[in-house]
């Protein structure tokens, strides 16, 4: 039994994510920006795929949504295809949470050569090859396929457990992983660790491509958010993330002991709360906003 398995016990809790802001001002300023970024990444995923920043995009869509997308992509250089297979076969590659809604279909979007290669790999049950085609670095593939099926991001759990329950990092770009419950999703896969250099490079590619497409302001917001101190902790099936501007909680697999991750950050936002414990600070005299 792995250390992760020892940590987790059986519970049931509905899906939820609730946000509490440190002030109305912080909410008024930052919530629209975060929503804007969330929408941007959703909307630009296909554009990033056509530029091959993401070699392949995988979505779970209702049949009518897949049809609509297919129509939209008719004029583009991208191909759309269903990934058909038994649930068991799909589970060889995808986490159970991804396959949650069984009415939805799994759709591949990408250049023809990538889609064909991915379909071929899937049909041959070659998970390694499939994940490589979607752009996952080798280190992440290995960790992903060995990882535990859990709603806690495996890289996070693994990063923390490597250090026995609590881990402090000074990572910047990969801290986006902690904002994922708010919809900030920059990559098509889960990086193996918070210090995965290949994944950091992939995020830089995403950011630079979007800057080239004219989203300079948005990328400044993103970089600012990712430069803040942030803490993640999980206990009894509830994860709590604390940032200088808000805290939020959501459901995860239940852990018997508290697991914590701290990213120390290098900036603190103007509207960040004053507080006594990490990530809050009493004194705001540190370097402030980039954007």
């Amino acid at each position: 039994m792995t250390i992760e398995q020892q940590m987790i016990y059986e519970t049931h809790l509905h899906d939820f994510c609730r946000i509490s802001w440190v002030s109305e001002e912080a909410k008024a300023y930052w919530y629209p920006r975060i929503q804007c970024l969330t929408t941007l990444f959703q909307n630009q995923a296909i554009a990033l795929t056509s530029k091959e920043v993401f070699p392949l995009l995988i979505k779970r869509l209702y049949p009518h949504e897949a049809d609509e997308l297919s129509e939209q992509l008719q004029e583009s250089s991208l191909k759309i295809n269903h990934l058909r297979g038994t649930r068991k076969k799909l589970l060889e590659i995808f986490p159970v949470t991804f396959l949650n809604d069984q009415v939805k279909e799994t759709i591949l979007i990408g250049k023809k050569k990538h889609v064909d290669q991915a379909l071929d790999a899937f049909n041959k049950s070659d998970s390694n090859k499939f994940l490589e085609i979607i752009g996952m670095p080798i280190c992440c593939i290995k960790s992903y396929l060995e990882g535990l099926q859990t709603t806690i991001y495996n890289g996070l759990l693994r990063t923390i457990l490597k250090e026995q329950k609590k881990k402090e990092l000074n990572n910047q770009l990969l801290s986006y992983l902690l904002y994922k419950p708010l919809g900030l999703d920059l990559l098509q896969y889960e990086p193996c660790f918070f210090d995965c250099q290949q994944s950091e490079q992939n995020i830089n590619n995403v950011i630079n491509t979007l800057i080239d497409k004219g989203y300079n302001q948005e990328m400044l917001w993103l970089k600012e958010i990712l430069s803040w101190p942030i803490s993640w902790s999980g206990l009894h099936g509830i994860a709590e993330v604390k940032t200088p501007i808000n805290k939020f909680m959501y459901n995860i697999d239940a852990t018997a002991k508290k697991v914590e991750l701290i990213i120390t950050g290098s900036n603190y936002p103007k509207l960040g709360a004053k507080g006594l414990a990490f990530p809050y600070r009493i004194n705001h005299s540190i370097k402030e906003a980039i954007a």
């Binding site: 049931h12 609730r18 802001w21 002030s23 902790s233 508290k258 006594l276």
Partner: protein, 379 residues
């Protein structure tokens, strides 16, 4: 839910060593000024019963207090105030009478028993305590109902001092005081040596429970609430027994003199005034119900329906996802009350054959974001 109005934030004239609001003072939440228009505008908008709170609310000028009491009276016919009483004078008492203000006094007993409500020196503290108790007599003389908030500490609830505290409660009973809330010390107490041990809490609470049986007027709300909860009478019990949502603190909505809103002060160890999310949730109670006791949960506890893990502000390791750090104390008290109910021929919920069925009903409602009032909704 009451609207907790704190014109000067957490500013106070005393410096109680165990005060749960120190965290806010350390991040500068004491106010030197306030905007009465913002406060009154908010009171009108929220339309909830008003509790004038602090810090110490009598630090604000009497004409402003009158405006607040007047508005609350006009809207609801009454209001409450929580004060240490050391600044109270005849003019305040006139206002309380005129506007039907129910006065809560914070005091841990007479003389040296109250020394943790520190006024700068022991002499000044003793004088301040005398003023508080004089204020209580004045309130009684004017026919005003008052109640007490008492903190149990090493100073007033161990050894012979506990006997003195009990004697004082008897005196309050004789004076016709009806109600007293006894508190455990908050996790954030500046001096942990003031905190009672688990065994000391059990001893003190058990003795006070026995004392209540001999009193005519005075009730300790904790025992009344526990007795009610063991009979599923949860309509008007304290928030700690109702599966409090740490993010929304249903029992408290507060506003400071600068318009800043706040939740119950027992939460948020960082000293940050977190805002209420749009949705309520009962995830903590749901997970405690499923989490084994040895991990910090409540699985299998026969008192879960009555307790629900108690206050998240006093959770094990200061993590609201755990059950109360005082779990053993509450279990002991529930056991005592359970036995008394059974002696009276009442089957407490903890021994009831339908307990599991009721737990399932409550759980399924929590899943939908609804906190049942068991008394109404299960019958």
């Amino acid at each position: 839910m009451v609207l907790e109005v704190r014109p000067m934030g957490v500013k106070c004239n005393l410096s109680c060593k165990y005060c749960y609001q120190h965290k806010y003072r350390r991040v500068g939440k004491e106010l030197t000024d306030y905007d009465l228009d913002i406060i009154t505008g908010y009171i009108k908008k929220r339309d909830q019963p008003v509790d004038i709170f602090g810090g110490e609310p009598l630090l604000i000028p009497i004409h402003d207090l009158e405006k607040l009491f007047g508005l609350a009276h006009e809207m609801h016919g009454y209001s409450t105030i929580q004060t240490n009483g050391t600044l109270m004078n005849d003019n305040h008492i006139k206002l309380f009478k005129k506007y039907n203000v129910y006065v809560g006094l914070s005091c841990d007993g007479p003389n040296e028993l109250n020394n943790m409500r520190f006024a700068g020196s022991i002499d000044k503290t003793l004088q301040a305590t005398k003023k508080t108790l004089d204020a209580m007599h004045q309130l009684r003389k004017n026919g005003l109902d008052t109640y007490f908030q008492v903190q149990l500490t090493k100073i007033n609830a161990t050894g012979t001092r506990l006997n003195k505290l009990m004697q004082w409660f008897k005196e309050l009973d004789d004076l016709g005081i009806k109600y007293c809330r006894i508190h455990v010390i908050d996790n954030n107490c500046l001096d942990s040596s003031l905190c009672l041990t688990e065994q000391e809490y059990i001893r003190a609470y058990s003795k006070l429970y026995e004392l209540q049986k001999t009193l005519v007027n005075l009730h300790f709300d904790i025992f009344d609430d526990m007795e009610k909860m063991l009979q599923l009478k949860d309509d008007d019990v304290t928030c700690v027994f109702r599966g409090c949502d740490h993010y929304t603190t249903e029992a408290v909505m507060g506003i400071n003199g600068n318009g800043e809103q706040h939740n119950c002060g027992a939460m948020d160890d960082e000293g940050v005034y977190f805002q209420k999310p749009d949705q309520k949730g009962y995830e903590r109670a749901m997970m405690l119900y499923q989490t084994p006791y040895e991990y910090g949960g409540c699985r299998g506890c026969r008192f879960f329906l009555a307790c629900k893990g108690h206050c998240p502000g006093n959770a094990i390791d200061n993590d609201w996802r755990n059950r109360s750090v005082f779990c053993r104390v509450w279990q002991e008290l529930f056991s005592l009350i359970e036995e008394d109910l059974e002696r009276k021929g009442i089957t407490p919920v903890s021994r009831h054959p339908k307990r599991k069925e009721w737990e399932d009903i409550l759980w399924s409602h929590w899943q939908r974001g609804v906190n049942l009032i068991l008394e109404k909704d299960l019958n």
